[in-house]
Symmetry: D2
Subunit: 406 residues, 4 copies
Amino acid sequence: MTDKAYALFEEQQQSRGIDLEVIKSRLKALQIETPSWGYGDSGTRFKVFQKEGVPRDPFEKLEDAAQVHKVTGLCPSVAIHIPWDKVEDYGKLRSHAESLNLKIGAINPNMFQEEEYMLGGVTNSDPAIRRKTTDHLLECVDVAKETGSRDLSLWFADGTNYPGQGSIRKRKNWMLEALGEMYRAMTPEMRMLIEYKAFEPAFYHTDIADWGMAYNYAVKLGEQAHVLVDTGHHLPGANVEHIVSYLIDEGRLGGFHFNSYKYADDDLIVGSINPYELFLIFYQILDAAESGEERLVQAVNNIAYMIDQSHNIEMKIPAMIRSVLNVQTQYAKALLIDHKEVAEAQANNDVLGAEDAVRRAFEFDVTPLLHAVREEQGLPLDPMKAYLSGSYGQSILARGKGGASW
Amino acid sequence: MTDKAYALFEEQQQSRGIDLEVIKSRLKALQIETPSWGYGDSGTRFKVFQKEGVPRDPFEKLEDAAQVHKVTGLCPSVAIHIPWDKVEDYGKLRSHAESLNLKIGAINPNMFQEEEYMLGGVTNSDPAIRRKTTDHLLECVDVAKETGSRDLSLWFADGTNYPGQGSIRKRKNWMLEALGEMYRAMTPEMRMLIEYKAFEPAFYHTDIADWGMAYNYAVKLGEQAHVLVDTGHHLPGANVEHIVSYLIDEGRLGGFHFNSYKYADDDLIVGSINPYELFLIFYQILDAAESGEERLVQAVNNIAYMIDQSHNIEMKIPAMIRSVLNVQTQYAKALLIDHKEVAEAQANNDVLGAEDAVRRAFEFDVTPLLHAVREEQGLPLDPMKAYLSGSYGQSILARGKGGASW
Amino acid sequence: MTDKAYALFEEQQQSRGIDLEVIKSRLKALQIETPSWGYGDSGTRFKVFQKEGVPRDPFEKLEDAAQVHKVTGLCPSVAIHIPWDKVEDYGKLRSHAESLNLKIGAINPNMFQEEEYMLGGVTNSDPAIRRKTTDHLLECVDVAKETGSRDLSLWFADGTNYPGQGSIRKRKNWMLEALGEMYRAMTPEMRMLIEYKAFEPAFYHTDIADWGMAYNYAVKLGEQAHVLVDTGHHLPGANVEHIVSYLIDEGRLGGFHFNSYKYADDDLIVGSINPYELFLIFYQILDAAESGEERLVQAVNNIAYMIDQSHNIEMKIPAMIRSVLNVQTQYAKALLIDHKEVAEAQANNDVLGAEDAVRRAFEFDVTPLLHAVREEQGLPLDPMKAYLSGSYGQSILARGKGGASW
Amino acid sequence: MTDKAYALFEEQQQSRGIDLEVIKSRLKALQIETPSWGYGDSGTRFKVFQKEGVPRDPFEKLEDAAQVHKVTGLCPSVAIHIPWDKVEDYGKLRSHAESLNLKIGAINPNMFQEEEYMLGGVTNSDPAIRRKTTDHLLECVDVAKETGSRDLSLWFADGTNYPGQGSIRKRKNWMLEALGEMYRAMTPEMRMLIEYKAFEPAFYHTDIADWGMAYNYAVKLGEQAHVLVDTGHHLPGANVEHIVSYLIDEGRLGGFHFNSYKYADDDLIVGSINPYELFLIFYQILDAAESGEERLVQAVNNIAYMIDQSHNIEMKIPAMIRSVLNVQTQYAKALLIDHKEVAEAQANNDVLGAEDAVRRAFEFDVTPLLHAVREEQGLPLDPMKAYLSGSYGQSILARGKGGASW
């Protein structure tokens, strides 16, 4: 059925003037970084659910991540969290990664899990705590040097719970101070990715609450600073694709933390709640890439795609496979948009025509296309099935319960 | 200054036709239940912050709660959570409460903190887990018998994370089954308070998502079943006071879990984010009470006022004192509404006049009134100061860190 | 390509155990009512945009609606709004409809466009205005008798702008009074569909704010009263499919007003913003239909599917064609769900498997299936193209500007 | 009672170390601009309600605005909207204003009420429409020269209704182009205030959707460009006071359009739904002013306070009086914050103490203070009563119905 399906798909797309070879090469170039913490236990404020087979240390996390890459071909790098993934010898971690056909990806400092951080890290009114936190940022620059990582992903859980609790203005400037110190420690190859978030549970204000604040810091810091868009970190109704388009045009979109939400920051599997939004994000990205403008093409090429989710109730490795497949599916659909058709309808103020030209690409079933790509790459046609029918999932049960958790 | 202030306040209110003696007696009758769990450690999904001096067992929780009652005169009862407050001998717990001038209040079953409950308790597709959960509900009826409690407060963390994960319809009926079994086990003096909640972090659907679902269960179960309104459990923009008014008119408002929110279910100190909303809730309650209709007066008298908050970063006992004082303040302000003036403006379609008649009451400073009430009750004029200047806060530090947490 | 495409689709679905003949017959049975007002001019509070060719009276509206049915085969009935569609002789309107192969569908009273309704109609504090509004409701029952309509669709723009402006409780009971009077005037064949809405611009409270209030009225009124779900009338984040499932289980889902939204009640083309939500609504409906329980099958059969949108900037007739095609597409996808597979995964607590079983149906391209259905029905394969390439759109331009508007 | 009340208030505040003379002088300096369009008829998409006595032209609007200033002493300037307030001779309008003791305030271009603007003005894909709209912007600069206005307030209703309808990126750059052309036409004394808005009804994307986009344009344009914060133009939950603080620190807060909302952009009377939010906005402003830093003091002094509301159901002039009194009340309360106390609690990480220090100021009844200020200014103690008991409201009824509307 697969061959017939692809032949038909090809015929269909050719009749639309779509060049599938270009699309296949783009699909082969897609890389999605998975996070080491996505393989460990996680949970709610009430309970961390412990699963059997969860990795017990950063080395085992990499081994699980390697499985995801093995069946999908999409995930050659793994983001790490310090100190969750703190090891004596990062060279050894890096070698372990390489032995698994992986690279260490973005370094993520953790500034929210020690007693001192209760009222903030870099924005704490206590200079000693600010110092400690900034030192941790500098430590992460050092880790990046050892792991050969380009990106430093910064998410701050800093904020206040009550009006008046902290000086919003002072905290704004303390944040800039800390970011500046870290920025100056970076090598010229490194990038700082500044994440924003509308709110955490129990927050009144978040120190970096929206893209505008992250962007403003990035501009002040310099050209190595960019904005990191976590798809779940917005207020209800936010048009994320608009933000994406805006940041690309400014040359400041550093990357994504992908996940999905229904109500608040739910950290669910990307593409599982509103797949059309993910497709529309890729539409904006590809619209910039298709523009032919060098600065925009460059901006698009600099986007780091990363997963950041909590799989509290799902099986860890399959959940990650599902996630990257969902991203690949929506990216493939967006690649089928006929940008000329859209542009013409836009120029003619043909509202329904333009909408249709975008949405129609979403309605294609890209399974034959993805099968063809996987076949050409020597990958299993159905990565989930390949993983589930393999023995790895069984073998790790020997690790028992009580593995790493955040 | 206090006497002068009260004299002026009295003059001012008398000129509006307000009878302060009636208001003072209503203020003296106000009772707000505090939750045992509000005295223990709590936190976020990342970390439970451990504070010094947190109670180590249910008996010490009662002792802390007694301090709140001692300085405010508002909190003669304490809600408990099973199994957080599980003890060998509930008679002993009850006696301890009585020795502290307290009563045991509502019993709250906990159905969200064991491995089995990961995919739901009473709505789990596994009959054995449904049975276990329902048995826990029945156990709580027994506890209520032993503690002499009237109210069983039911909050279910049940829901699904993904479309398709569970059968929404089957879960609806399993819920009714479990509630029915518990209802039938209750004594005629008991009440079942059914709480609803729009969402938990990572949810796609919540089994009891809104007041309509809770209300519908209550109507099906019988006259001892009522709705419990948690002020933080709504979607953005919900008009909580409308729901309150609606439920009173139907005779089904069982009570409140008070707290405050800015974004989602933030569980902050009640009245700290949008105090006018709390005032408007009391306006609806008092509007019903003032109607003179027996069924409405009865409905208002049956409302249980309870605190349900997380004090992750605040000092526990002072946070609770602040909470009940905030409730008392807004209740006092609402008592100053001239319902006749409002009704006349409404009848005349005087939009601005009616709005003004309500809002004006909110703008009065009720401090002199509250001072007078406290003086007449032999309470400290400033309960927070009284607590902070006392020795209790110091004395409990001997408990050390690592007390009870959820 | 079409035949090959269907053959492949059939092979694909057969291998999943899906019986396409059953699905095709269900697709042929799908009926979506379009609203007469959807063919007229509409706009914003600032401006109604006048388009050329807009119908000038109810008869021309029916003619436009007939075009939608002609190319889609989906829309045999047309809802009307009184007094927008008031005519001297409803028998004549009905005959005109029949001559166009249409029926008059739901009757929609209009209670928000006269000076008297500024502060509410059936909930106005002035008894004369309540009387006038209720009389209009009764008039609509009479219209329904003349047009042979089964359904009376009730949307009330009633609410208040400010706290205190009106008595929420009195308005609740005035609403019931008016509904009761209308209900008693209905013939046994008629149904009352009660619509709810979270808010209108500038509202503080809406008299029927959510499904719970609409449902409660319906239960009090009797078995001919049902809830009407407008997909755009919820607070941000509401799980509409949960409400749908709940109402079906209670036997009280009367029907839908379909449209789409991004922020508030945007009244956009259904399926254009979040198509997966529409698919998930149909999943709940089909899950009930598949249950085999007679009461559920009956409940599903009673659902009236209706469009209710504003096409301020779109061409009217094509926008309506787009709308019904979007509904058909998502319905077709939902028909491909393998309910047994879902149920098994649910029973096994296989979270990822159950989610996948639902989502996978969404990812099929149903174009071949819809082509086959249209071919069997003698309809154009591409209804939009058929309409746009026809002469009707051109011919109505002779109507000029300044047609009917709301 | 007034004298006694003030004496007591003074005693109370002095005991807190508050200098009432400073506060009174600040209150006397408060200026709130009212909008000419706030005196005309307005409505919903369904209906503009016509009221008796509404002004028939810009001159009569100024006369009504003069009444608001007369009784409140707060509103010496009036914003105008072009072409709503287009007149042959702006010199004459200016003289009329001066004869009424008023100034013409901000100039507001209207780019949303002509057929051409249906798909956008400065962001329209048609260059002729972009030209026309930009010309209108330039015309407004000319009007400002003639009226002696400093501020040009820019709100764009530009956006798209559907994904794909327009090129988000091109529209971004067209916007900058038009703003740039206008900016260069401004005199050095003028300011451009760029308003943002999350959404309009039926929008998918808004060209200037949030403060970050408006701010970024302002920075690109130059030092005469600032951000205009409309308190109703945010997504649910947005922390407006955070944005305010942020913009002040960047020296880019140009001013406010005040109004209030419950659900979306409801344009209700400022301070009528969540007065604490308004108070917290002033807290951030005063916190900057109190810092003593010259750049912050300067930034605060540059804030233009303006009303922008729709009074669809309220009496126009009283609604405006209510609005400015609400602003004055919350400003007065915020002036009572003891910033030293707050700063100390913040420095000590005393969460409850800091929150209390802010909230306590909100709980004071500032009526005695406002009475004293008004008495010293020779104003009526109760401006609303003064207006309602005067003859002006009666006299304008002679204008009849059918006055100016938007």
